[in-house]
Assembly symmetry: C2
Homo-oligomer: 380 residues x 2
């Protein structure tokens, strides 16, 4: 296909993403927040969260194949949002494949990834994965006879000219997060305390009860587990931050807490089911070794010892979707949602359902073809 | 040592580098150029080139140890320049360890590395190595209890504050090269044709005869062999550029040609002496496997077939300093010059001596302690 046709096709595909976004616009769920800016449950209904993991927007961005995967990923999210009508979405990292993105502002792709939630009026929050600010990786074939393809840069529509107009520099985590927050009133993401840098997506959200905005039903903690521009680790500084913050907002551990980050900690390796012995694990794919963080700096010890922590949710491994009990909490994978990223396992999303009075935390996986599986009670 | 003492020590060390620079200022060799801007031999004397390889300025830049190595490297260069009094210096890549440099403008360290030649009035040129624009690598220990050390940024003297004043972004090859050229009238480096991007340091220099500025004695070709921000390879586009350029300036292959790049090509693996059988190789350390480029896109085939090409000179392997015959040309390593970079083999520099009428190309290695070894005739 000649380069000018590639450009026309890319434009059509981007337009398709925009129109796909609008399919669900009529179903917008009105957001309820407390005067303090916390999330709030609706009376008489559980609070439902959809976890979108490893979307990998911008994968192979210079090819015809790449942008088509982003259209497919929008389709998965639209299906899940229509079927489940969640109150909230959590983007569990690897929202984009920054190491494949040739433009300076990778937020353009990030913005496409959050659009299915946005157009439906569903609030969301996000954590970073290892691909979100990974440096551009030059394909080796671009150095052979074929050379650098004729590139088109969605940010400016300027064609390639020696790196002056197209940029191959990665967008930093801070830039990505600031862009998400500034451009979206529905985003509950935060850019975290400065002293935790280079990790960015570290924050806590409170879900308040329907009857009393002061009363917390659950606290949701978000951690940046690194990777990309820096090592895959949750640092000692992040551990201290969690200890201080949880002591401040939930000193007696009365309110349940759940945790989100992208890369499984090394504890996941310990509970991972081996050779068809699933023990008490619940899930449908057990097809990979756990690709864990590079080091353990103490976060798991703190979480294990805190009675209010119910479960940890991660992405990263596209071929794993299980929840396994670990000491007194649950360690869960989300489900690969995106058509970008490795692996061809069917796409889906883990759903969380939170009930108040009495408290319960239930989870299942909703697939792109609509069916449900792997239901598990995480508050038992 | 408390942070303020670290800062004072760093200041003293930087001052030491400056004063070390000035030791040889009285020996400045006046530069002779032709009206066309080419290098020119002095009458009645050979033209001598010192190769400074793998200086790695800025290695472990945040420690007390790191800046002391840069002082040591200045010492090696000063010794070689005093003993050899060369007419020209070639920096054979890995001038800096960008993956250890916390400031936005890594040219600050590059500038320290070229200062021993500059203060003596000796012209030079440079090619890039894999470390020169490598992205910053966060030390894992900075995520443990010790945390991020109190950093001081030589560019601005601003202390660390969440990445706003200190920058951990690498300086691009283009920025490094433009900075070298703009700030130094003695630099013969060029930033290469734009269509060879992302490789930058691709250019040819002519050395003219003393009696006739039109008459070339030798052509020196410089190639960017990649690494750091992109794969370690000499591309098909660079091969084509060499074919066109050499056809243009030396169509009948009458004038001898020599070649400089940083990472050994895969042909080096073929000729590398194995298990104490040195064959026709000349050198003093044979202590590593060749760490070759990732792919071979045709440059060696072109060089082999061109009768005027006499030798290729590379750095990269600190534990190798040999020259070996390969088909009708010589493949040579430089000698590890810097105290930065891996390995504790004694430091030195490969010297090239070019004679005109009759043409000859001789080489030897000058060590930091003054002694010479591994003399070899490369024009035979």
């Amino acid at each position: 296909m000649p380069p000018q046709w590639t450009f026309i096709c890319l434009s059509l595909i981007l337009a398709a993403i925009s129109s796909a976004d609008l399919r669900g616009a009529g179903h917008a769920v009105p957001l309820r927040t407390t005067p303090e800016g916390n999330l709030r449950m609706r009376g008489g209904a559980p609070f439902k969260i959809a976890l979108f993991a490893d979307l990998h927007f911008g994968e192979a961005a210079w090819t015809e194949w790449g942008p088509r995967q982003d259209v497919n990923s929008v389709g998965v999210m639209a299906t899940v949002l229509e079927k489940e009508q969640p109150d909230f979405v959590v983007y569990v990292g690897d929202v984009i494949t920054a190491n494949n993105i040739m433009i300076k502002n990778a937020s353009v792709y990030w913005d496409q990834a959050v659009s299915p939630a946005r157009v439906r009026g569903i609030p969301w929050s996000s954590v970073f994965g290892n691909h979100d600010d990974a440096p551009f990786e030059w394909p080796m074939e671009w150095f052979s006879e074929t050379g650098i393809p004729q590139l088109h840069c969605p940010a400016t529509n300027a064609s390639f000219s020696g790196g002056e107009e197209c940029s191959f520099r990665d967008t930093t985590r801070l830039e990505l997060m600031k862009s998400e927050i500034e451009q979206n009133t529905l985003s509950y993401s935060k850019d975290g305390p400065q002293n935790l840098w280079p990790s960015i997506s570290n924050y806590v959200l409170q879900l308040s009860s329907p009857s009393n905005s002061q009363e917390a039903v659950i606290f949701m903690y978000f951690f940046d587990s690194g990777g990309g521009s820096y090592p895959e680790v949750i640092s000692s500084a992040q551990v201290k931050w969690f200890q201080q913050k949880s002591q401040e907002v939930n000193p007696d551990s009365r309110v349940p807490e759940i945790i989100f980050w992208h890369i499984p900690s090394q504890a996941y390796e310990k509970v991972a089911p081996k050779s068809y012995v699933k023990k008490h694990c619940v899930g449908s794919i057990f097809l990979e070794d756990v690709a864990a963080q590079e080091a353990e700096m103490g976060i798991m010890k703190v979480l294990e010892q805190r009675p209010s922590v119910k479960a940890v949710f991660v992405g990263h491994n596209h071929g794993l979707d299980w929840c396994c009990p670990y000491k007194k909490l649950w360690l869960c994978f989300a489900r690969h949602t995106g058509y970008g990223g490795y692996g061809n396992w069917s796409r889906g999303a883990r759903i969380l359902e939170i009930n108040h009075q009495p408290f319960s935390l239930k989870s299942w996986i909703r697939m792109e073809d609509g069916h449900l599986h792997s239901e598990v009670l995480l508050s038992s």
